[in-house]
């Protein structure tokens, strides 16, 4: 077991080095394909049109998906994923789990320095993890709840002592919970650390400018530790300018006019024409992101009878939603386990065909007709279209759904106070491990379990999936649990999975696309 993991890790680091210079992923569909045999030319400035404004540069306090797009360029984590979603060594070169699984020892790289000159070592790891675990208001405390303490064995070895076996630990350490920052810079930054340029990271770029609603500038880190297969230092690019542009159409126009060289999150309606556009490269990959309608538990709410949830799940036409709203970009889904997750079961299609008649019968069994409210975020025409389509679909089964558009602050307030009785349309950015997509949503008493779902069997299965590192066991646990919380005793309505997307000029090479919908620029270069 252990040696297999060792081998995987070892091969993994090779793979990453190979991927770094080979140019990586073949795009799906037409358009120019990135070259795989040309030498990378260093230098150049690239502009990235990002879908929203990043706000918080401190992984301790950041809780928005958008921030991570910057984090991945300026900070390194203990481990990372490759473009297929497999966990690979990063700042930690190898790791060994204790035989009882209650401790994991990480061996660290010794050639890493933070941009401010401080050395990355075991003490730094301990400081970071303790900070994430114990600071008031930390957004990472949930992800690291299983960690009891961190011991510094020596400068290049640390041991995490766990309260219990926790299989998703490594997956959590890929993201913000495992990001390593320089203590010196963080403390020097003070309250403003979250929104000012700093040299706290060891990543390929350094954040040198941060102007709200305008742009952020990332400049090449001259002492970055990762090199390509020829031994040249990464990154190739001198500078990346990040421009937050919330409107998809404007983002697209910026790329078309050359004001930006790359963008993420392409509106579904434009994908078809972009795939055949030879002046741009379009890449797409299945992501961990799921789309759902989550009931909110409040005194006397109608979804206390789970059969109503099932009725909604049976009635909606998932394929029609995908085709109409996203123009076919994405995948139909029934639960929380995404196609890119190891635990995915392609044969799990409980509601393959929309069946409003069966839903009508089920509701008739219950007795009272179903009427509820759906909350969506104001100002998003795509969500509005989605809600109106779902409303029309539900009418076929005699279900009345009223749409309410609210500000995000209001929606969260209503849900947290449990005064709202209907459902909320929610898209979850997704996590590498199926646990990240599932546990907090259906386990008794967890933060995102707005519907106050509580099923003993599901709880047991999910606990068991955490307590073992046996992939097959975990797969079985997840699939059994999913069967329960989607079909037998439905918790909510899941109807689709999203995709990662990138659109860029053919001059840009070396861009890989990842299932977590985040960009990585370390291996990118501009052809002259």
């Amino acid at each position: 077991m252990r040696s297999a993991r060792y081998l995987v890790a070892f091969l993994g680091s090779f793979a990453i080095l190979l991927a770094a210079c080979s140019g990586g992923q073949q795009p799906s569909g037409g358009g120019a394909s990135p070259s795989t045999s040309v030498m990378a030319t260093p230098g150049g400035t690239m502009t990235f049109a990002l879908e929203d404004q990043p706000i918080n540069m401190d992984p301790l306090l950041s809780n928005a998906f958008i921030d991570r797009n910057i984090h991945y360029q300026i900070y390194d984590s203990l481990v990372r994923i490759d473009s297929s979603g497999k966990i690979i060594p990063w700042l930690a070169t190898t790791w060994d789990f204790a035989s009882d699984g209650k401790a994991v020892t990480f061996h660290l790289r010794t050639d890493v320095k933070y941009a401010d000159g401080e050395t990355f070592d075991g003490a730094s790891v301990k400081w970071n993890i303790d900070r994430y675990r114990t600071t008031t208001g930390s957004q990472r405390s949930g992800e690291l709840a299983s960690v009891d303490s961190v011991d510094v064995v020596d400068a290049s070895t640390v041991r995490f002592n766990l309260k219990s076996v926790f299989a998703p630990l490594l997956a959590n350490l890929v993201d913000r919970s495992g990001m390593m920052l320089s203590r010196k810079s963080v403390e020097a930054g003070g309250t403003d650390f979250t929104r000012k340029p700093s040299k706290a990271g060891s990543g390929p770029f350094v954040l040198t400018e941060f102007v709200q609603n305008d742009h952020m500038t990332l400049e090449k880190n001259p002492s970055y530790w990762l090199k390509d297969k020829d031994g040249s230092q990464l990154p190739y690019l001198d500078k990346v300018i990040v421009k937050p542009i919330t409107d998809g159409t404007v983002r697209l126009t910026n790329v078309r006019t050359g004001d930006a060289q790359i963008m993420n999150n392409i509106p579904g309606k434009d994908v078809a024409s972009l795939k055949t556009d030879s002046t741009l490269v379009y890449q797409q990959k299945e992501a961990y992101q799921f789309n759902s309608m989550i009931p909110n538990e409040a005194a006397g709410y109608v979804f206390a009878d789970r059969r109503y949830v099932k009725a909604v799940s049976m009635t909606i036409d998932r394929q029609q939603i995908l085709d109409t709203i996203a123009f076919g970009v994405g995948a139909v889904g029934y639960g929380t386990i995404a196609p890119s997750h190891f635990a995915f079961d392609p044969t799990f299609k409980p509601y393959a065909k929309a069946d409003p008649d069966a839903a009508k019968a089920l509701i008739a069994q219950i007795g009272a007709p179903l009427q509820f409210e759906l909350l969506i975020v104001s100002g998003d025409p795509v969500q509005l279209q989605e809600a109106q389509l779902i409303k029309a679909q539900l009418e076929k089964a005699g279900i009345t759904m009223d749409i309410t558009q609210l500000q995000f602050a209001q929606i969260l307030d209503l849900q947290n106070k449990h005064t709202f009785k209907g459902m909320t349309l929610i898209g979850w950015s997704g996590r590498i491990d199926p646990d990240g997509n599932t546990y907090d949503w259906v386990y008794t008493g967890r933060p995102n379990n707005a519907e106050s779902y509580s099923n003993k069997q599901v709880d047991q299965l999910l606990d068991h999936s955490r307590a073992t590192t046996d992939q097959e066991q975990r797969k079985s646990d997840f699939q059994k649990a999913q069967q329960i919380f989607v079909v037998d005793d439905p918790a909510a309505v899941w109807f689709g999975f999203g995709v990662s997307q990138l659109l860029y000029t053919p001059k840009l090479k070396g861009m890989d696309i990842y299932p977590d919908r985040l960009v990585r620029f370390a291996t990118a270069w501009l052809q002259k």
Partner: protein
């Protein structure tokens, strides 16, 4: 009446369009060819044709029907908010102008406070205080924002007339203030108020469109011109233009007709008013 209209063709023109608008709004259920909220994705994004003169939107709904029904929202919001502005504003202005003193001072400070807020921002803030944005709150918000205009107009006139002879005569005779205000001061205001109300309606329609555009007006799936523009604008670069052009033109026509009518009324009823804003 007939000679009045004949001598003022612009009033006739503006008035006719307004009447047509009101007619469309009142009889929307009869005039509209389709149910504006009927979703049919197989008919989505169809350009104007015989079956759908203004085409369909991305959920296959008939744009013409949505525009026709949208007139109900725009006109009812305008009517109610102008009524609020008029009712509150005129009362306040008359009282402040006629009674003067401390009441006047306080009332004007209140008006100043209202005026100090950028109108749209105040409307947004007022609507934001409610549980969910709904059309009633937009009506109230726009009404509140409209109050200062009526108050100032009325107060100025009340102040000016207060010292006039016929008012002094009425007071000497012992007429009660309310009677004086309504029988003597108010009629002199009528012309100016009619003009203000007409132009105010135009402004209210624009304000409702702006609020709906920001998602704070009529809620989906109720058709509203402003919301339809913001909902469909993203398709413009794909050259699906009819879904946003139609409601936009409708707003323009409605506002234009009230502005045109108001301008014509102003010229006809009180040429002196041309000098002021």
């Amino acid at each position: 009446m007939r000679t009045f209209l004949r001598r003022n063709p612009r009033i006739l023109l503006g008035g006719t369009i307004v009447v047509v608008l009101v007619f469309v709004a009142v009889f929307a259920s009869v005039i509209a060819p389709y149910d504006p909220t009927k979703v049919d994705v197989t008919q989505g994004l169809r350009p104007p044709s015989a079956g759908h003169p203004f085409g369909t939107d991305d959920l296959g709904r008939d744009v013409l029907s949505r525009v026709i029904w949208g007139s109900r929202i725009s006109l009812s919001v305008a009517l109610i908010s102008v009524s609020i502005g008029f009712g509150v504003g005129v009362s306040l202005g008359l009282a402040a102008g006629y009674f003067g003193g401390l009441f006047d001072l306080l009332a004007m400070r209140l008006i100043d406070t209202l005026l100090a807020f950028p109108a749209l921002l105040l409307a947004i803030a007022i609507v934001a205080t409610q549980e969910k944005p709904e059309i009633q709150y937009a009506m109230i918000a726009i009404g509140i924002v409209a109050v200062p205009a009526y108050t100032r107009l009325t107060r100025a006139q009340a102040l000016a007339l207060r010292e006039r002879e016929f008012i002094l005569a009425a007071r000497t005779v012992g007429a009660r203030p309310v009677r004086i205000v309504f029988r003597h001061i108010f009629p002199n205001l009528a012309n100016a108020l009619v003009v203000q109300a007409t132009l105010g309606t135009a402004g209210a329609i624009l304000a409702e469109a702006a609020l709906s555009f920001l998602g704070l007006g009529a809620q989906a799936p109720t058709p509203s011109w402003g919301q339809d523009i913001s909902y469909n604008a993203r398709y413009l670069p794909n050259l699906f233009w009819w879904m946003s052009l139609a409601p936009g033109t409708a707003i323009f026509l409605a506002v234009f007709s009230f502005n045109f009518l108001g301008d014509a009324l102003r010229d006809a009823l009180d040429p002196r008013l041309r000098r002021s804003a």
